[in-house]
């Protein structure tokens, strides 16, 4: 990798985003599990469920703060390292982030204080409401973040404005109901549920193996296995796949994930194994399963799935159109609002949506209009993401997903027959499976975001153009700082997590006093 601003900025973003995403899935999933456990407590009045909520809540808290803390980095970083991106698409991308704060994060963060401190201050129903507010807040938070991210993958409802030199929103509902965003939301929160389910299942299995806290551990395993089975089915079945063919680029990503260099006659085969070679543009030792790919991708036996080489040819013609758009844009800007010939306006209207393809040439030449044939061909091949990493990341993710279904199904079956502790080796399997959902989630991030390259906004803005003009030294300082700081925090977090797990649930304090909902506090207070 080169030590340039673009590579370093990408490295820093990848490091901080992957790190942030270690904490987010567990927050999303565990918040729902906490709400479910507490609901059972309120409905049945059995204190073991209260004890469960409090115990898993302690672990939730250790994880939650790091999610919040590292989330701050994400919000700062768009401006710090991706300032041209912020200018270029802030009109669309900023809104879901702000609405996330208004609608979701405020709810989650305000009530999380009551979740921890409110056990003795609220009625049972009052506390349950606070817990649900945290769960709903964190899940809505994921929704708005993925609406923002979905727009990067499939930029609908926006158009380029030559007067402001940026993308501006034309149809906000199209942004909100973007099919890619909706598919991503379902996929990502389901993955979070699986993560939490496996975490609860694994830790409880360890207690059962050690013969500790059996009442709590068995009930936790029952909840985790059924919740986990439903969620892992949802991740795979309702997964990302429904969004794949919604856009042109998802086609390139799909072709890269499958290392499918040539367009094959329908229905295409699925490459179960092989070694993709980016230079030679072929996949060595490939093992194909006939027809499966075509069925998954198109849900038909007759529709073709385009291969990488054909998609590159299409990209090349788009670059040529993009150059026309770039040329028209320069003329419109040179006229400064004075009369622009109608053929120029018409050309921009026709080709303007492909302007971003002209910017792909910026890597080789300042003015895309001066690009040579060779440069255009190179830029067209730049639209292919790194095939081997996508190929493997996807297979690891899917493999883990399938294994999760199997594992949670087994435990679901055992819990239905009340034989959870029958096979000790299975309990050990559950313990050692705890890290797997995290690996799958990180691989998913790689498929989604590394697979989007060279674009930061698919078809609209190349990643290389989106960076801030900061110095290499400054970037190295912050990368080193984040690495050091985050490593220390990771060690501390793991240490506390293990300590809390070893210590186990604490004896339940006296149950909450039953305050009636409308009971007034002793003094009036100012609204904050």
């Amino acid at each position: 990798m080169e030590l340039d601003v673009v590579s370093l900025s990408r490295l820093q973003f990848a490091l901080t985003a992957l790190y942030h995403f270690l904490f987010v899935p567990l927050t999303i999933g565990l918040s729902i599990l906490l709400a479910i456990m507490e609901t059972v407590y309120v409905m049945t009045g059995r204190t073991v469920w209260r004890e469960m909520t409090r115990f898993w809540g302690t672990l939730f808290g250790i994880n939650f703060v790091l999610g919040v803390a590292t989330g701050l980095t994400m919000e700062f970083q768009f401006g710090m390292n991706w300032s041209y991106y912020s200018h270029y698409v802030g009109d669309i991308f900023g809104a879901p982030l702000a609405i996330e704060g208004l609608m979701a994060f405020f709810l989650e963060a305000t009530f999380v204080g009551l979740f921890f401190f409110g056990w003795d201050k609220l009625s049972r129903l009052g506390h349950l409401a606070a817990t649900w507010a945290v769960a709903i807040g964190s899940n809505f938070s994921a929704l708005w973040i993925l609406i923002a991210n979905g727009w990067m993958q499939n930029p609908v409802g926006a158009a380029f404005n030559p007067a402001t030199m940026r993308m501006e929103v034309t149809d906000f509902w199209a942004v909100v109901f973007n099919p890619v965003a909706q598919a991503k939301f379902v996929h990502t929160v389901s993955a979070g549920y699986v993560t939490a389910a496996l975490f609860v299942l694994g830790v409880s299995a360890w207690y059962v193996l050690k013969g500790r806290h059996l009442a709590l551990a068995r009930r936790s395993m029952t909840v985790a296995a059924s919740f986990g089975l439903a969620a892992s089915l949802s991740v795979v079945v309702l997964g990302d796949e429904s969004g794949y063919l919604a856009t042109e680029h998802q086609q390139m990503k799909l072709a890269a994930v499958e290392a499918m260099w040539e367009t094959e006659p329908a229905p295409a085969a699925f490459t179960a194994f092989g070694f993709p070679d980016q230079q030679a543009r072929e996949t060595h030792y490939a093992i194909h399963i006939p027809a499966v790919m075509g069925l998954i991708a198109t849900r038909s036996l007759t529709t073709e799935v385009p291969g990488i080489k054909d998609l590159v040819v299409r990209a090349e013609s788009r670059i040529r159109q993009g150059i026309l758009a770039y040329d028209a844009l320069q003329q419109i800007r040179a006229a400064r609002g004075a009369g622009v010939p109608s053929e120029v306006t018409a050309s921009f209207e026709e080709n303007g949506r492909l302007l971003g393809y002209a910017y792909l040439l910026r890597r080789y030449v300042d003015d895309p209009r001066q690009a040579t044939e060779e440069q255009i061909a190179k830029a067209a091949w730049d639209t292919v993401p790194h095939v081997p990493s996508l190929f493997w990341a996807f297979r690891i993710m899917v493999g883990i997903g399938m294994y999760m279904i199997l594992l949670t199904a087994v435990f679901f079956f055992l819990s239905a027959r009340r034989r959870l502790d029958r096979y000790r080796w299975l309990l050990w399997v559950a313990v050692w499976s705890i890290p797997l959902p995290w690996i799958a989630a990180e691989m998913g991030w790689i498929v989604a975001e590394f697979g989007r390259q060279p674009w930061i906004i698919e078809g609209v803005l190349p990643t290389a153009m989106a960076v801030s003009h900061v110095g290499i030294t400054e970037l190295l300082i912050t990368i080193a700082g984040f690495t050091l700081f985050y490593s220390v925090l990771a060690v501390v977090e793991m240490g506390l997590m293990l300590k809390a797990i070893r210590k186990g649930p604490q004896p339940a304090p006296a149950p909450a006093p039953m305050l009636s909902a409308g009971q007034a506090p002793p003094r009036a207070i100012p609204a904050e």
Binding site: S83, G90, F106
Partner: protein, 383 residues
């Protein structure tokens, strides 16, 4: 969508300029006392139990309060994208320092009490102190630099070129503004401790809070004097089209004499802001001395409103002037999001902000009451 035409573009820009202020004031008025308590932690708490009292006064609320900052960042991104892009990338290393300090804070609150080891707790005390002190100082330093103009220029394609350095940010005027914001938040933290804590922690909160109030009073007056006599300001010299495109390079700007204070001559009602600042600080000082609780915190909130509004109103219509290429300066009329985005964001704010205020008030009501050494010792939920 035609609905957004109900409000014209200039009005929406003005509303979003006001809302930007509302969010920053919301942050200072709530999370400000969390930062202040953090900066005061080593001084108001001499023993572990005393420090736990101070920490537990803000323990259940800091998380929600911090969202004002996160929402402020998100709203700047959504409503003023160029402002977000220039300030965050320009103040790159300063932002990193703030970020590191802000990351220490949540972790410190949650993790400090997880071990009994005194060295562990002392380390997190430092983290919480840094997490309060550094952001409180640097936010003011940033405003001090914005008032002077920031060395950036925009390219023809609206790329951002920043030509200052990290140490250039730490100039005397900016540091004075930093001290002002620090003392304002420490005063606010003192007022909070006086309301929520008991015993020696509350008493020390009152003492240090009133010292900080005196410092804030002096610094606010001194920074105002410097702005009037020395700092100068910026002025748009070309005709302004409040409904024009968000293209900053279309205007002409000069730097001249007393124009930051010229607004107060043009719009005398704006004097409400500095007056509120002075009255708020004074009220907080007297309240801390007299041992009043609720009214002191309200005065302290009034002070944050007054001080922040003074900075914003003085610069109107500028958001971020450029000292390097004044034409590149970002103003209310040429650096907002599009008409439609501003409208959508306004609708979202109109729906959710009242809800946020309502449930936040409810949460504070539930948590009403003082935190004492006994209550911290006896509770299994306390940090």
């Amino acid at each position: 969508m035609i609905l957004h035409e109900l409000l014209d573009y200039p009005t929406l820009r003005l509303i979003w300029w006001v809302l930007l202020g509302v969010l920053l004031i919301g942050f200072a008025a709530t999370d400000g006392f969390d930062l202040g308590v953090g900066a005061l932690l080593p001084f108001v708490g001499r023993t572990d139990l005393e420090r736990r009292v101070a920490i537990n006064t803000i323990g259940p609320v800091w998380e929600g309060n911090q969202v004002w900052l996160i929402l402020g960042g998100g709203a700047i991104f959504a409503a003023w994208p160029q402002l977000y892009a220039v300030s965050f990338s320009g103040f790159y290393l300063a932002m990193f320092v703030v970020l590191a300090a802000l990351i220490l804070r949540p972790v410190g609150f949650k993790y400090r009490g997880k071990r009994d080891d005194p060295r562990w707790r002392a380390a997190w005390d430092w983290a919480l102190f840094t997490g309060g002190f550094v952001p409180a100082l640097i936010f003011g330093v940033a405003v001090g630099n914005v008032l002077q103009g920031v060395p950036f220029r925009l390219t023809d394609e609206y790329g951002i070129r920043y030509e200052g350095s990290f140490f250039g940010l730490l100039n005397p005027f900016a540091l004075l503004c930093g001290l002002l914001s620090l003392s304002m938040m420490v005063m606010h933290g003192g007022a909070w401790l006086s309301l929520k804590a008991t015993g020696p922690v509350a008493a020390r909160g009152r003492r240090y809070g009133s010292i900080a109030a005196l410092a804030a009073l002096g610094l606010f007056a001194f920074c105002g004097l410097l702005t009037w006599l020395w700092l100068g300001g910026y002025r748009i010299t070309s005709p302004i089209d409040p409904a024009g495109p968000s293209a900053p390079l279309l205007k002409e700007v000069t730097r001249d004499g007393a124009s930051w204070l010229a607004n107060y001559a043009t719009y005398p009602w704006m004097l409400i802001a500095p007056v509120a600042g002075f009255l708020g600080i004074l009220g907080a000082f007297l309240g801390l001395r007299a041992g009043r609780e609720v009214s002191t915190l309200l005065c302290s909130k009034l002070a944050t409103f007054g001080i922040i509004s003074t900075a914003g109103l003085s610069m109107f219509p500028f958001l971020l002037p450029s000292s390097l290429d004044p034409r590149s300066s970002l103003t209310v009329w040429d650096s907002s999001s599009s008409h439609l985005t501003l409208f959508i964001m306004l609708v979202a704010t109109a729906i959710f902000l009242p809800l946020i205020l309502a449930y936040t008030a409810w949460v504070y009501r539930v948590l009403w009451g003082k935190v004492s050494e006994a209550s911290v010792r006896d509770s299994s939920d306390a940090y």
